[in-house]
Symmetry: C2
Subunit: 447 residues, 2 copies
């Protein structure tokens, strides 16, 4: 029996996911606006035959700018530049359904899909950020449930727009002078609670039909949304048991909605910190943690927990009377994950800051390449993952190390590809190309 291959996504972020990575002597602290830095990262990931690279985003300046590289090139712009410098690797960008119009955004993803020859993916987020709301005329963000309701309609409209040109609408008939068959280019005439959009889209159907749809919310609304729409799911899971429960639950939800559970790929995040020996890896991790400025990190933690920074004493555990998840209108699942982690391991605020500094709630794993490969195989073979969202603590070195030392071990174990077999992002993830919902059923009449 052939083992199922893992899917690997490289989640890229300036000098790395560890918040203090920019302070290392090796790091370029201007990496966040340096296109050559990102082209280099993408080429390394493609050399490793990753399924895709991914950039997170929000339409607001997050975090204290003193703390770490802040502000970034808009991800669809970044991915387009990367498309021109690579051949096969998939290109996934976050974009918000709360702070975009579906016509413009559907057009943009279709455009990236065109210029990349079918390698575009969209990580659909509702943007849990009061700061973002204030950049778009609002005083505070819309309620969690309303954001998801809008997201649902947004994706619905987007799919109609991507389908509005049938695949064979363009005739290019020079002799008769008819460029396209207008009966195969459809106004979508969408009228809903949030959007009224006539269409059709102003770009012909793209190579993948739809970009790959990715989702990362883990709240109740988020999981239901993922089960309905997502083809790949990024998730933060700290323990095997939690990851298995999430995996089983999401696959079951998808099946319950009539979808093939295998058409939803689940990729927990992992922040690998590699060393030639276990001790070396741990030393690297400690070096990074020592570079965290605790005052900055406490401000961020306090913001997430909706308390004043002064309520968090560095050498005590979290206060007992934190709000319930139900009261959080922001990143519900991130909130619960952090509080659960702190309570379970009885971490002081200082220890918690160290744990979060590496991966903002994602699982940090330090060890040898063999140990990291074991960790990945263990989760994948025990029903916790179809692959992983690889979040190097330091970039580019952490990605290079992963490609040079971990991926060869995964290949020896027949757990990862040695060459790309497909051309499009959907093909890398083993997902089919959707046909247009407006496609006419052609009836052959025997005559």
């Amino acid at each position: 029996m052939t083992k199922k291959l893992l899917h690997l996504n490289a989640f890229l972020m300036s000098t790395g996911h560890h918040e203090a990575s920019w302070r290392l002597p090796e790091s370029n602290p201007y990496a966040n606006t340096d296109i050559d830095h990102y082209l280099n990262l993408a080429r390394i990931a493609e050399r490793g035959k990753f399924d895709s690279v991914f950039f997170a985003d929000a339409p607001a300046l997050f975090a204290e700018v003193g703390r770490r590289p802040s502000g970034s090139i808009e991800p669809t712009v970044l991915l387009t530049a990367i498309a021109a410098a690579t051949e096969r690797i998939g290109l996934i960008a976050t974009a918000s359904t709360t702070y975009n119009d579906p016509f413009n955004l559907a057009r943009r993803f279709a455009s990236v899909d065109h210029v990349s020859g079918g390698r575009a993916g969209w990580n659909i987020v509702t943007t849990a950020s009061p700061d973002a709301a204030k950049n778009f005329g609002l005083d505070d963000q819309p309620l969690h449930a309303d954001r998801y309701e809008r997201a649902t309609e947004f994706v619905d409209v987007s799919r109609k727009l991507w389908d509005s040109w049938e695949d064979d609408a363009t005739l290019a008939d020079k002799a008769s002078g008819v460029w396209a068959d207008s009966s195969r280019v459809h106004p979508i005439e969408h009228v809903g609670k949030y959007f009224k959009v006539r269409g059709p889209l102003n770009v012909p159907r793209s190579p993948q039909g739809h970009p790959l749809l990715v989702q990362a919310g883990s709240s109740e609304d988020g999981k239901q949304f993922a089960a309905t729409y997502a083809e790949a799911v990024f998730t933060a899971q700290q323990t095997l048991a939690d990851a298995q429960a999430f995996y089983t639950d999401l696959k079951r939800r998808a099946a319950g909605l009539g979808r093939d559970p295998d058409s939803v790929k689940i990729l927990p995040g992992i922040v690998p910190v590699l060393g030639a020996t276990e001790a070396e890896a741990r030393e690297r991790e400690e070096e990074l943690d020592r570079l965290i400025v605790p005052e900055y990190a406490r401000i961020q933690l306090a913001k997430t927990l909706r308390v004043a920074p002064s309520e968090l004493a560095f050498d005590r555990e979290l206060p007992a009377d934190l709000p319930d998840e139900d009261e959080i209108e922001g990143a519900k699942s991130r909130y619960t994950l952090i509080v659960t982690l702190a309570r379970r391991e009885r971490l002081t605020v200082r220890q918690l800051i160290g744990r979060l500094g590496g991966g903002r709630g994602h699982r940090t794993f330090s060890g040898t390449p063999e140990q990291v490969a074991d960790a990945l195989e263990s989760w994948a073979s025990q029903g916790a993952a179809d692959g992983f969202n690889v979040m190097p603590a330091v970039l580019p070195s952490g990605l290079e190390d992963f490609v040079e030392h971990v991926i060869p071990i995964l290949r020896q174990r027949e757990l990862f590809r040695t060459e790309y077999t497909g051309q499009t992002l959907r093909e890398h993830y083993g997902l089919s190309r959707p046909s247009s919902q407006y496609e006419r059923v052609l009836q052959e009449v025997a005559s």
Copy 2:
């Protein structure tokens, strides 16, 4: 005395500006979604040392899809791909102030400016299109005056956002662990009639500070807007006298607003159709006009004139009782230009369709390379132009011909550069880099 050099922008559009260009045997009718086609065009323009390439756009599917290649890759995506394939040429994209949010759009142009090393330009349009309105929840487009009022506030907000990071805000101080000086990253706290935006922008200041601001409206509102904000102006002018009047008026308006008139570059459009002899050029033009499908073109003309297609008889002049420009809420100046052209030359509908088929109201000029160079020099030397918006009827051949045959003549006459002397788009156009409006005046205290 050194002559003033011309500025040349290459206005690119699928198989060319002539609506029937796609029907030529040489043309790739799928060019509109073919990134390699556009990379090739940009490389040709860069070989010719054009100041910039430019793509028009509207968030709606214009025109009858049967008539000509329709739908296109979103221009900021296209320009980003081109940025990666070129070194120096400027990159100008149209984007609408009526159907975008300033936070997202300002971020996107700053991002293109970052990835291109300072080569981004924004052609600011208010989008005269009822079809576009229907893709954004509206039943009809906002009134002309309201669109311009919104555009004014939109540009104001965008400039604040581009300025929100001072140039030296990033300290990258690894030793102390302070990445940026938060006192040099400013919330903009904009509250206006159309927008409420807190800021700051989520990307550091870009190489040009602001992208080059371009404008193309020629209505009264459009001219006042251009005089206030534009650094380059694209305009459709059919006669030397009209072009001179426009040029003089716009420079005077800019001066009246306290601007150096030379900081507004005026570039009339020209559709050159080249031949080794005058007869050959005219033959080429006639070949193209014969390929126009009159029924399609009449639908488009009727739409612009706000009449039913049946009111336009092919072999008669335009009806006498057309609406006044004041009643047009769409492209006012385009409307007036077409009606004036038809009345002045007493053109039948069929003749008018031929004239518009080449350049949609822009000046078509067929002739030898020498004659085209004469035409450009004549306008520039008589106070009608600082340069030209070159709109090849057929692509890529029309652009190649211009680069190989017209540009060398302009160089012989010392009217065009032989090498780029600057790196950024602003430098190509001889425009200064704006400093941030939030820049603190540093006071040196003698001690």
